[in-house]
């Protein structure tokens, strides 16, 4: 019973494809891809709509207010109202803007964001597109986002847009390094770049109790935290939202976009966030594996989306908690702390592997990470004494 519920979407797709028996193989291939694409878009656009209202609800909760509660039950129909509003708004293109580039930037950014979703295993046998180097594909597609952001900034022909794009690209390039290097230990330990085999490697339980997720190893937890923070920067979210810092440069590279194009940017940002949290869940949190043997009757995709939503909640929680960091702070943090720590994770994973992957490896890799962490924190301590803050007002 639980087996058939677990595979309900896979068998649904098989049933749809069974209509096409007898058609040439390329028709079936294209139909199969189209079904995957429609399923992906349906699920993630719904999640985007839900997330946009839930984020405002949670932020409201954190800031001691109600949040949206007018449209529909608990304000759940808010995204529909927002969508209609965005669609019927006037689409303003600046007179001096580069029309083609200005138009193509949101298209490109949304396309790349959605492409990255294709390689994540959402459940048992539920990977939309199986590519041999799936993880590499994710980052290759992600790296084109920089070009799209640049196109938005340059095509708008506006100083604020260009400044925002420069900031965004600077921090994206800086954090792409720790982001990719923290994936390396997982790839090294599994010996594969395919997301399915990474998930398969996290199957089973140590001592019949603790799941063998990589987040329960010392290098895994360090890499997971680094990956999560880098992902936060890559998706331009608070506390790292300097590219669109409202109080400084209006809305960064999105300043000159209105109506549906702005909504497309907004959507791409959220889809990118889903992709990066989905990859974090796949790499470190065991993908679609259940956290305990007694809970394995729950379908695999439920576990995947539970993990995804838990990580998304942390994103919103951080946004409600932390103030915006400065540009130089973000850069210093990337090159002086994140990068050395990311390399340490690689070394710690190697130590873990060669010390036998047991408790000995656990202790050794923990020692490696602890030593580097404390050395870095001593070296990077500026010993600045913080004087009591004085406020000066215009006289």
């Amino acid at each position: 019973m639980s087996e058939s519920i677990d595979q309900i979407f896979v068998s649904g797709k098989q049933w749809l494809l069974s209509w096409l028996t007898g058609a040439p193989s390329w028709v079936i291939q294209i139909a199969s891809s189209l079904i995957n694409i429609f399923a992906l878009l349906a699920v993630f656009l719904t999640l985007f709509a839900l997330m946009s209202v839930l984020e405002r609800k949670i932020l409201g909760r954190i800031q001691n207010r109600y949040g949206p509660n007018r449209v529909g039950p608990f304000g759940l129909f808010q995204p529909i109202a927002d969508g209609i509003k965005m669609l019927i708004k006037e689409d303003i293109v600046p007179a001096r803007a580069d029309k083609i580039v200005h138009f193509l930037a949101p298209v490109l950014i949304a396309a790349t964001a959605i492409l990255a979703l294709g390689i994540i295993p959402y459940g048992r046998n539920m990977t939309p597109f199986t590519i041999d180097g799936g993880i590499l594909f994710f980052f290759a597609v992600g790296s084109t986002t920089e070009l799209a952001v640049f196109m938005a900034g340059w095509g708008s022909n506006n100083k604020f847009s260009m400044l925002g794009a420069m900031r965004a690209i600077a921090q994206m390039i800086s954090y792409e390094l720790p982001l990719i290097i923290t994936v390396l230990p997982v790839v090294m330990v599994v010996g594969s770049l395919t997301p399915e085999s990474i998930v398969a490697a996290q199957n089973g339980y140590a001592f019949d109790f603790v799941p063998r997720w990589f987040v329960f190893t010392p290098w895994g937890v360090a890499a997971f935290i680094l990956f999560f923070v880098s992902g936060l920067v890559e998706s331009n979210r608070t506390p790292f939202d300097v590219p669109e810092g409202e109080s400084e440069i209006v809305a960064g590279h999105m300043t000159e976009y209105s109506g549906f194009k702005y909504a497309t940017f907004f959507m791409a940002e959220y889809i990118g966030m889903f992709a990066i949290t989905g990859l974090a869940a796949t790499l470190f949190l065991g993908g679609w594996h259940a956290p305990a043997r007694a809970l394995e009757f729950v379908p695999s995709y439920v576990w995947f989306f539970a993990k995804l939503n838990a990580l998304l909640f942390v994103y919103v929680w951080l946004r409600g908690t932390l103030p915006r960091t400065r540009v130089d702070q973000i850069m210093n943090f990337a090159w002086k702390f994140m990068l050395p720590m990311a390399f340490t994770c690689v070394i710690a994973a190697a130590v873990w592997h060669y010390a036998g992957r047991g408790w000995r490896g656990w202790l050794c890799s923990f020692a490696v990470i602890a030593v580097v962490y404390f050395t870095l924190s001593i070296l990077l301590d500026t010993r600045r004494k913080f004087a009591p803050r004085t406020y000066r007002f215009a006289e």
């Binding site: 390329w26 580039v101 590519i131 041999d132 180097g133 590499l136 980052f139 290759a140 070009l147």
Partner: protein, 160 residues
């Protein structure tokens, strides 16, 4: 189906290249150059060399194209100005074209039947890089590290 895909990708790649060569605005040319990179990556995918295709996207679009657009943005103030026809460019282009045609016609592999190649997985590439080609790999790593440190030193002197 592969033939159709080949024609579509070839048209896309050539259109991108042609646009890069003829467009008036330098930034448009640079962006259409990125389209050409995508087309070449698609060719690698079509040939079953997934890893090379992914690296092509990763390096050429994520890094080289961004580098090109930033170089144009930060160095040229008179991007829009028309410079007239560039005859030296024609000479270089014809020389490169002639050299390539000569190399293609001279090569033996055109007349050879394609041998059966086992699917080249990322794992296999990794194994070969870490065993047979470990010294070239280390040399490239050393060179890149030197370049990185050199770039840092260039920036540091500016600060003083």
């Amino acid at each position: 189906m592969n033939n159709t895909a080949f024609v579509v990708i070839a048209i896309l790649t050539l259109a991108g290249a042609l646009a890069a060569a003829t467009l008036q605005k330098l930034m448009h040319a640079a962006l259409s150059f990125a389209v050409t990179f995508v087309g070449i990556a698609a060719f690698f995918f079509l040939l079953g060399a997934e890893f090379v295709g992914l690296v092509q996207v990763f390096v050429y679009i994520g890094a080289v194209a961004v580098l090109i657009v930033f170089t144009i943005l930060l160095t040229r103030r008179d991007v829009e100005k028309d410079r007239g026809f560039n005859w030296s460019g024609v000479v270089v282009a014809v020389a490169v074209f002639g050299g390539l045609i000569w190399a293609i016609l001279e090569t033996q592999s055109l007349s050879m039947a394609a041998p059966e190649i086992p699917a080249l997985t990322v794992k296999r590439i990794g194994e070969v890089l870490m065993t047979s080609y470990v010294w070239p790999l280390q040399c490239v790593g050393l060179l890149l590290t030197a370049a990185l440190i050199g770039a840092l030193i260039l920036v540091m002197e500016e600060k003083r």
